[in-house]
Amino acid sequence: MTVSVTVEHRESTPSWLRYTAPLLTGALALLVAAVPLLVLNVNPVEAYLVLFVGTLLSPSGIVNTLVTAVPLFLTGLAVYIPYRAGLWNLGAEGQLFFGAVAGTFVGVNADFSAPVLLGLMFVASGIVGGLYGAIPGYLRAKHDVNEIITSLMLSLAAVSLTHYLVRGPMQGSGGSAATESLPEAALVPTVFSPRLHVGVVLLVVVAACIAVLMNHTSLGFRISFVGANVGAARQSGISEYRTYLVVFVLGGVLAGVAGIVEVAGVYGRLFEGFSPGYGFTAVAVALLGRNGVTRVLAAALFFGLLQTGGSSLAILMDVPTALVDVIVALIILFILTAEFFKTHRIDLRTGRNTDREGVS
């Protein structure tokens, strides 16, 4: 018996698929992630109940979800904005680290009253993150150097350098791989609960600003035009050089700010492992939210929930938080697959010998 597979282009995406794709994607990811859970002798249903329902029903779960969503959202935008212009920023992690370093340096060393100091810290982290993001943007715009590789490499370099700094020049008195604790004035104030820092307003403020920027300003118009068709943009008088530089700087600024929010809002000092790979999860956030800023926000909240639920799962059921990585990866996997089936149709025929046709 022979099996023949024909793949054809669809004219348009069937509406049932368009609307159910995100749900299907999530459901499939959870289904497949149940396999390693079963291997670990954990009941997946119970685990997912703890992960999602448990987290959403407890006040601390909601607080932690919001707090975790902040760096995810900001780094997610750091990937999303260049993506809108047709570029990949794989360097959000490094921009986040250097932003954190700059902000922490100011926080530990400068002596100002609370609001000024915090302001300076945020500005410093934004500037440094933006400058670091500018490098791959500039290399791409000016010399056509592949931004995927350079942003990734610079990111890995920044993480290693930060490790050096917190063990060397910036090491605190505690002797561990961490800086001095930030003074009281350099901490982002908390409200209602000791975990809920006011940095979470960034979720709303930044979302509003970037949404306006992308959808209601001429810069946003230029970005999406360059991303949609560089050739047409060029002949409409839009400079792709400036646009490429701007999206990377903007992304870097946001990722840098994400770094200082984590340090000054959550941990109070900078240490080696303060980011569980936010800059990489950001790729998933941007991918899931690629159709708009509010979707990036929704994706960040969802991954924040996953991260938080993963932590409670580790405490309550002794499942490593790495489960979260697995689910994130599977979600990306199924998004990529769904993408294909939105534009292609597959016919499976068995038993008949037909001309072989490659996937085209």
């Binding site: 118009f221 999406s224 949609a228 068709n229 050739g231 047409a232 943009a233 008088g237 001309d355 490659g358």
Partner: protein
Amino acid sequence: MGGSMGNHENILEAKDVTKRFGDVVANDQVNLSVRRGEIHGILGENGAGKSTLMNILYGLYTPTDGTVVFEGEARQFASPKDAVDAGIGMVHQHFMLVPSMSVLENIVLGERELPPGYEPTGIGVLDRLVGMLTRHRSAPRERVVELTDEYGLDIDPDRKVWELDIGEQQRVEILKALYRDVDLLILDEPTAVLTPNEAEQMFETIQSLVEEGLTVIFITHKLWEVEELADRVTVLRDGASVETVATDGVTQSELAELMVGKEVLLDLEKAPVDVGDPVLQAETLRVEDDRGIEALSGVDLTVNRGEIVGVAGVSGNGQRELSQSLFGFRPLLDGRIRIDGEDLTGEPPSGFMDAGVSYIPQDRHEYGAAPGLSVMDNACAKEFESDRFRRYGFLLDYPNMAEYTRDVVDRFDIRGVGDVEETPAGDLSGGNLQKLILGRELDRQPDLLVANQPTRGVDVGAIESIRNLVLERRASGTGVVLVSEDLDELFDLSDRIRVIYEGEFVFETTPAATTKTEVGMAMTTGAPGEQSQATAGAGVRAEDR
């Protein structure tokens, strides 16, 4: 045909071949029969469906309908490899060579020659592994050298392809096909990229191919090439085959008529307009094409207010580069451009835009519009930064932009738009997308409009309204450079017609003072007269100017 086995007179036949891409019919029931050992010309304007038909014969496209009969057998090639194995080779207009590899490697690529002296064991896996994991080039090299001698294709097999000039690369492509023992060779506009001397050499090569027993299909839109080279010619027009004739019994002007077709009567309103001051003054423009070959060799062009200057020419003679340089899109090697007396030489496109130049590029999807963005985004692509679309100083006034777009959609009769903010421009049909681009460009009330083939690939209804819109602009004082291959369009719209040929203007006239045949001759031969370029060659062409 049907019953004859063995000694078929026709090596290849296409019967009622149809190919659709979405809604576009690229080939509409095309019929073609090619006799063994002949040189068969395929003649047609751009977009007539020549390349599509050849890609079907070569297994790159699957036909939507119809059959291809090769050597008396109905065949459907699933891949180019199938076609090559059956004996059909093709040299694409855009060469399929790997620049970093040597000539020899390019020729042998994919053949997996076994080492000399290796006797296939009959164990499939083993033989295939040997074919994959060895590389012997002495025998193939000898074969290539033999072929180069036999056909006079002088080329060093060890040079890298990126070091070769265009003519040499083309010879590599032909060698590639010969190396694979093809019986039928398809040449897709082989002279389009060649200098006259290289083209002469190419013709000799083709002659020697046929003498050695090959059959050649030769695609072109240059009449004299067909006359000189082909035994028979099939003319394609609008995706359909018009007629197949022997070149002996037909004149170039008859061929031109077949190719261009009967006139479609359009309702156009062309009133006399007083010509004003010069709006465009371009002097001694010299530019290169994308490959770095000179495309314009010092041309002058002046256009006055209220005047349409038609630039006639077969594509690839420099008109694309001309229109791009008039919009600051292509750097000038030499020359200067003044718009309304203001020197804009060296300015970027935005400078030309601000000076009141509008531009309609040849390729709608590549440069004219961003198909993925909404109709509104595309309609406002050039004006989104103007004050009328600004709110509070920094926000774009989307309601106003949408309003404006709806107005454009209305006035320019753009159909198929649901919601201007939602419908992607790519969903519009070719004609409506073109009207959208035209609307965007004309609504800016430009002083100069540079339009490169504004009605190419557009339905008749849209053609009429596009042409009327251009005439309207002319009436209100816009100067227009109209680049076109469509003689009807040029004659209907132009006040003056200039023919471009190999990067220079060779003929200037007005619609009243000439005939389409004369202009068609100038487009395809470089001179308006009936004298044959075939025998005269490049030398006479220069004298004629």
